[in-house]
Amino acid sequence: MGGRSGRIGEGPLGSLRSVRARDTDWDGVRLHVVTGKGGTGKTTVAAALALALASGGRRVLLVEVEGRQGIAQVFDLPPLPYEERKIAVAPGGGDVHALAIDPEEAMLDYLEMFYGMRRAGKALTKMGVVDFATTIAPGFRDVLVTGKTTEAVRRKGKDGRRVYDAVVLDAPPTGRVARFLNVTNEVAGLARVGPIKNHADLVNGVVASPETAVHFVTLLEEMPVQETLDGLGELRETGLPPGGIFTNMVRKSLLPASVLDAAAKGRFDPGELALGLKAAGLAEGGANAAAVAEALAEEIAEHAHRTKLERRERRSLDTSGRPRYELPLLADGVDLAGLYELAESIHAQGAA
């Protein structure tokens, strides 16, 4: 099919691209849907994944659908128009393009593409049809948005090859993602036959195929982990293809397990620490070193406790059987450099 592996057999010139083919966990996937609970860094991970997928000379489209201009913020750009434009260059060549989908514009596109009705579309907009679509039948809005996304996935250039090697969709949060993607079902109650239904079926043909993977972004905390597992369950029920789990903002523990164990049980001895602080020149007097050591011991105990809970959450995630990737917490927040760091980490772990 159209996956990366398909290019390997191409002629000597075409093989330029196939040289860059590499083994990743998601070969053959062209639509990467990224979801996650609010606050887990879904948009950041989607952006880093797009960069990672583009690295080595590919062309990737990053799509957002909720009108938040999250992509612009992550890449530190002015607000994006409803237009595909190149926003970043990936390591080793390769481009990331971005598109902020506006449902109203998507509706005009749809009318023009399928019916050649741009003018009527404008009139519809004036009549408040988009208000209609978003107010009364959210399924319609979702179909327009996912329709635009899957169109980009399927789009072919003059050479007959797909225009984008991959499309990354920064999707609605976990609680809504199955409904958002399951458009056929969503409009079925409203339109059993007719053009919307046909359009929904077309979208479904991409979204429910092996060309799509729905990835989850989570933190090592109880609620987002639970939502991830629930979300995977919902995907299973609706027959949508599950992807990997990206655990975001992971803090590396520098302390040996024995110390953590003792600290978790409240048996960490700050005495040695006080000596170390003195040796490092951090204490002016004995009393001061002891006080700082006590305060640090408190930090260690908290850290040990959290590490233990995190271990439990990791085990929960493992029960899902999905591939897992861990992304480090960036101490200074996610700036552009940090984004590339995350992309590198995604690449190194084989997710892209």
Partner: protein
């Protein structure tokens, strides 16, 4: 005190106890973007208010399972249930919003039985009442109005829906109203009003284009369902609008206190900023900002730079491995705290008069009333 609070500008402190203790406070609305601990804050405030003697009810929208369980809520039945285990004289009820049922009840209350049946069975109604993101907001406000009118509680604490934007719930009722009042609706209603003649015949050419496009876009059957739905709904909308306006006024009344909830992250703080500005525009009473999940370092006297330098020094000398690792850990924590301060800075300088309460990050989610009580203590313990 420590270097962190030294860098943050001095801001007024949000005294939540004063708010929940004031008998004139009748409604507390917790709002903010998704994932910042809004529901937990609402539930903790409810418990604290009850244990300080109020008769309180917490209206939650889509709570996490464990949090619901911590208040003994096991099913979404749209009815306030007493919460067991509350200490003291006051009492606490809690409920989960069932938005479809709330919507059905409004329809039943405002339409004659035949019309109600038409609406309730219409596919558009089913879609609107169960999945429109704005419906949840509208129904939360409707439920709030109902609880307030019932007079059964002297304090109602509302958790707002996990909207795409924190502002959605303010706009949703109006959007629904505008929609039902819009030109499109009038267009759809026209054939019915013209005595059932074939669609759009009597309309001018501009409408003709639109009608043709709509038919192409939606199909004839969908259009018919929609027309039926709209004309049935139109008949009950007068009542709808009156209620929405009533609830809106309730939110502007002095007995209401808005608590904006955020986390020390860029997006959440930005949403909080917008929200504070919107509340001012709408003349809705803002109590203050709660910043959840703030990381603090007990050993804050030791700066990130000093601990990193000392760790490097120890590592180079190959001495005190453990101390070096602990210093690295501490430096990371100080960096995180500094970043969180920076994320709050914009809000604090844009809204210097808004009272703020900060709640330290807890390693574990709330599982039971004891956990909620602890959150309540942290919310109140601002110094």
């Amino acid at each position: 005190m420590n270097e962190r609070s030294g860098r943050l500008r001095a801001v007024p402190v949000l005294d939540l106890d004063a708010i929940i203790d004031d008998p004139d406070t009748r409604i507390v609305v917790c709002c903010g973007s998704g994932g910042v601990g809004k529901t937990t804050t609402a539930a903790a405030l409810g418990l604290r208010a009850a244990e300080r003697g109020r008769s309180a009810v917490v209206l939650t929208v889509d709570p996490a399972r464990r949090l619901a369980q911590s208040m003994g809520l096991t099913e979404l039945d749209n009815t306030p249930r007493p919460v067991a285990g509350v200490k003291g004289e006051g009492k606490l009820h809690a409920m989960m919003l069932d938005m479809k049922r709330t919507f059905d009840e409004i329809i039943e209350a405002h339409a004659d039985p035949e019309r109600a049946r038409q609406i309730l069975t219409n596919p558009f109604y089913q879609s609107l009442s169960s999945s429109f993101s704005g419906t949840q907001e509208y129904m939360a406000m409707e439920k709030l109005g109902q609880l307030r009118r019932s007079g059964d509680w002297d304090l109602i604490i509302v958790d707002t829906p996990p909207s795409r934007s924190a502002l959605d719930f303010l706009d949703a009722p109006e959007r629904l109203g505008r929609f039902l009042d819009g030109r499109l609706i009038r267009l759809l209603m026209a054939p019915a009003k013209a005595g059932g003649r074939s669609a759009f015949k009597l309309l001018n050419a501009g409408f003709g284009i639109v009608a043709g496009a709509l038919t192409k876009l939606l199909g004839a059957q969908v259009l018919k369902d929609l027309q039926m739905f709209v004309s049935a709904l139109d008949a009950v909308f007068g009542g709808f609008r009156a209620r929405a306006e009533q609830t809106y006024k309730l939110l502007q009344a002095p007995g209401t206190a808005f608590v904006v909830v955020a986390a020390p992250e860029r997006d959440a703080m930005r949403e909080a900023s917008y929200f504070v500005e919107r509340l001012a525009e709408e003349r809705m009473p803002l109590a203050g900002l709660v910043v959840n999940r703030v990381h603090r370092a007990p050993a804050a006297v030791l700066s990130a730079a000093r601990s990193t330098a000392a760790a490097e020094d120890l590592e180079t000398r190959g001495e005190h491995d453990l101390t070096a690792a602990v210093l690295r850990l501490h430096a990371g924590r100080m960096q995180l705290a500094a970043r969180e301060d920076r994320e709050q800075e914009h809000f604090l300088s844009a809204h210097p008069t808004v009272p703020v309460a900060r709640v330290p990050a807890m390693s574990q989610d709330v599982h039971d009333l004891a956990g909620l009580r602890k959150v309540g203590e942290l919310l109140a313990a601002q110094s």
